[in-house]
């Protein structure tokens, strides 16, 4: 698949700016993004500086923040504790059990990830507003739309977060929480008032950037989840936003589902907004390390031994029909080396009924502390590069066209449960997956279809909350005693350092 050269140029140039001090050997890691706004005097320079805002997205799909927060709390991904591996003070089990608290690492790190992104946008807006260059308005709008993306994640996860749009805040500035309604209104207003300045192009110049379509998709997400965020539904607005993407003619379903997740997926017809990861220039996507077994190193000739962590729940795995092409999103059964030899796991527990042959079983014996090393179907949706490093080069889809299609269908269905077009749209997705069409749409089969299509793309927790299943019981997790867990606690470090911040209810 063709990779967008100008995009590569954009990011490589950023790196050159940081790594290129050849004459002094002061070459590495010395680019400080907070220095030297005086050089911003042309559109190209602004675009180059803009990259600092996008590099903040790189940690998204690692295991340290939003990916883990959104996925491991859902019914599609779990990180069992396998002896001493993945104990981490019980962090992973608490995410699964919905017993997380304000001291948890992922709670803290996700907050910092989001506000780092917001802060960089604020700084660049502050810097860019001082210079006069061509197309400044478009670049400022792009930054504000990107800031709205970070704020949407904050709205979705923590709910009552402070809205801060100023970079040069006074020393004693200590913002209180805004209400969830206020954060929602802020995101909507920012997007609606800036989307007109964003490029409607969907090509190499806008790939990986907040263009009109990415902003439109974000609006659709906000409107679709409006009832969760504000108590008021916005189904028609969600329908209209998703419909505009669907009817744009700029996107299409890839004939092969898995081409969306290949190493060279940069030209996917479904990419509305992607993080253009690169194992050298844009690192942070560590899924191979996160999910694969130690012995899988020999399957892919990986340069580092994987960590044997993330896998799917048996019930979720079984939600796919056997002939569903998307069932290839999982690695199960005997694993083989790159030369075709069965891999043996010398450290297999005596209690493992499969013994040393490395055999991924959908069944997981327990959440922890003694989950078997080989237990759990592994995430195989993204292609693992032969000889890969800890960092993958597959681009990660933040927003994908198939999601827009399903959102359009859902909005139509919410308005009219017998809407024929809604059914047609969902069946279009199912046809690509080579499974029989639905005869009707229900909340249950719509949520399940979204799960199968969008597995491991950071949507499941949001979807489960919208469909009202997040507080249900599932494997090794009792039903939540209260829905206060539908938003995460404000991190304790933040409360300790800002007396005006208050904790979310019941934490």
């Amino acid at each position: 698949m063709k990779k967008h050269i100008p995009l590569r140029l954009f990011f490589v140039t950023l790196l050159l700016a940081g790594f290129g001090q050849a004459c002094t050997d002061l070459e590495e890691e010395l680019y400080s993004s907070i220095d030297g706004d005086s050089f911003l005097s042309s559109e190209a320079e602004l675009i180059a500086a803009l990259g600092a805002a996008y590099t903040n997205l790189y940690p998204l799909a690692g295991n340290g923040n939003i990916y883990s927060l959104q996925e491991v709390t859902s019914d599609e991904i779990v990180v069992p504790t396998r002896g001493n591996d993945w104990n981490d003070g019980g962090n992973w089990r608490r995410l699964h059990l919905h017993t997380y608290g304000p001291e948890d690492d992922r709670i803290r790190d996700s907050w910092n990830f989001l506000f780092q992104g917001i802060n960089t946008c604020n700084r660049l807006v502050f810097q860019f507003e001082k210079v006069e260059v061509e197309n400044k308005a478009a670049i400022l709008s792009e930054l504000k739309a990107l800031r709205a993306l970070f704020y949407w994640w904050a709205l979705d996860t923590y709910g009552r977060v402070p809205i801060i749009t100023q970079f040069d805040v006074p020393a004693d500035f200590a913002p209180p929480n805004n209400t969830r309604q206020e954060v929602y209104d802020f995101c909507i207003n920012e997007l609606e008032s800036n989307i007109g300045n964003l490029s409607k192009s969907n090509d190499a110049t806008t790939y990986g950037r907040m263009n009109y379509w990415a902003a439109k998709m974000l609006l659709a997400k906000l409107y679709l989840n409006s009832e969760v965020y504000t108590g008021k539904t916005e189904w028609p607005a969600a329908r209209d936003a998703a419909k505009e993407i669907y009817e744009s003619g700029l996107f299409d379903l890839e004939p092969d589902y898995f081409s969306n997740f290949a190493v060279n997926n940069g030209g996917s017809a479904e990419a509305i907004l992607a993080i253009p990861y690169d194992k050298v220039f844009a690192p942070g996507f560590n899924l191979a390390q996160m999910t694969l077994h130690y012995g899988s190193q020999n399957t892919y000739n990986l340069q580092e031994q994987p960590w044997n962590g993330f896998c799917t729940l048996e019930e979720f795995y079984n939600s796919y029909e056997d002939n569903d092409a998307r069932k290839g999103s999982f690695l199960v059964g005997q694993q083989f080396s790159s030369t075709g030899e069965p891999i043996l796991d010398d450290g297999a527990e005596p209690t493992d009924p499969d013994g040393p042959p490395l055999n991924f079983t959908p069944e997981i014996n327990e959440l922890g502390p003694n989950a078997l090393r080989q237990a759990g179907a592994r995430i195989g949706k993204f292609e693992y590069e032969l000889g890969g490093t800890q960092h993958m080069s597959n681009d990660f889809p933040i927003f994908r066209y198939a999601d827009a299609v399903l959102m359009y269908a859902e909005a139509l269905w919410r308005i009219n449960p017998n809407d024929g077009q809604a059914l047609m749209l969902v069946n279009m997705i199912r046809e690509r997956a080579q499974v029989d069409p639905f005869a009707e749409l229900t909340a249950e089969n719509l949520l399940a279809e979204r799960g199968r299509e969008l597995f491991s793309e950071i949507h499941r927790r949001t979807d489960q909350i919208r469909f009202g299943t997040y507080n249900d019981a599932w494997w090794e997790k009792p039903a939540d005693p209260s829905d206060h867990v539908n938003i995460f606690p404000i991190p304790q470090n933040q409360l300790d350092n800002n007396q005006n911040l208050t904790q979310n209810p019941n934490y």
Partner: protein, 193 residues
């Protein structure tokens, strides 16, 4: 045309900023004949990959360190002597022979937020330099580079330490053994998807 402008801009950055003070400092360090291989926490330049892992395993067992950011770093928590708890994430770079020649480190205050002005990287920078001076007895030279901000440099024999604020949140530190030729970056090969 736009691409040429971007490349020209990057090239201008790449070949600007020669600092004679820095070069003199480096020359003095290298010509002194002093070897200074200590990094921190018992980790040294020249340590093999295996020895590094064994050493970290022992420190992890003793609760001195734990798994760091995204599992791709080692975390050392500094919970005393700083104005807030500081996370120090590190992971060395190895030569082709598997020996440590470089150690990038990232420091951050746990309580960082855009509005916590006392917990920004400019405050952290001062505390990190103080910490490194305390650890190593090094004296840092402040270099100002046109358009690219400030970097603090200390050279002790073969060991160079660079410190700079990466952004409002992070302070980056880089330890380098200046007597080791770094392996050629795999960038050219890896950059082509």
């Amino acid at each position: 045309m736009k691409h040429l402008v971007i490349i020209a801009l990057a090239a201008a950055f790449a070949f600007s900023g020669c600092k004679s003070d820095y070069e003199r400092l480096l020359d003095a360090g290298l010509s002194s004949g002093v070897r200074q291989d200590s990094i921190f926490l018992g980790i040294t330049f020249g340590m093999s990959r295996k020895d590094f892992y064994s050493h970290c395993w022992e420190m992890n067992r003793d609760s001195i360190i734990r798994q760091g950011k995204d599992n791709t770093a080692v975390l050392y928590v500094i919970d005393k002597g700083m104005r807030d708890v500081v996370d120090m994430n590190f992971y060395p770079n190895f030569t082709a022979e598997g020996r440590i020649y470089e150690m990038p480190v990232t420091f951050e205050y746990r309580g960082w937020a855009p509005w916590n002005k006392e917990l920004q990287s400019d405050s952290l920078l001062v505390e990190v330099i103080g910490l490194l001076e305390q650890w190593h007895g090094s004296k840092f030279l402040r270099l100002e580079r046109a358009g690219r901000g400030i970097v603090h440099v200390a050279v002790d024999g073969n060991r160079r330490i660079l410190v700079h604020p990466q952004n409002e949140r992070f302070v980056r530190v880089l330890y380098t053994d200046m007597t080791v030729e770094p392996p050629k970056p795999a960038a050219a090969e890896a950059g082509e998807k």
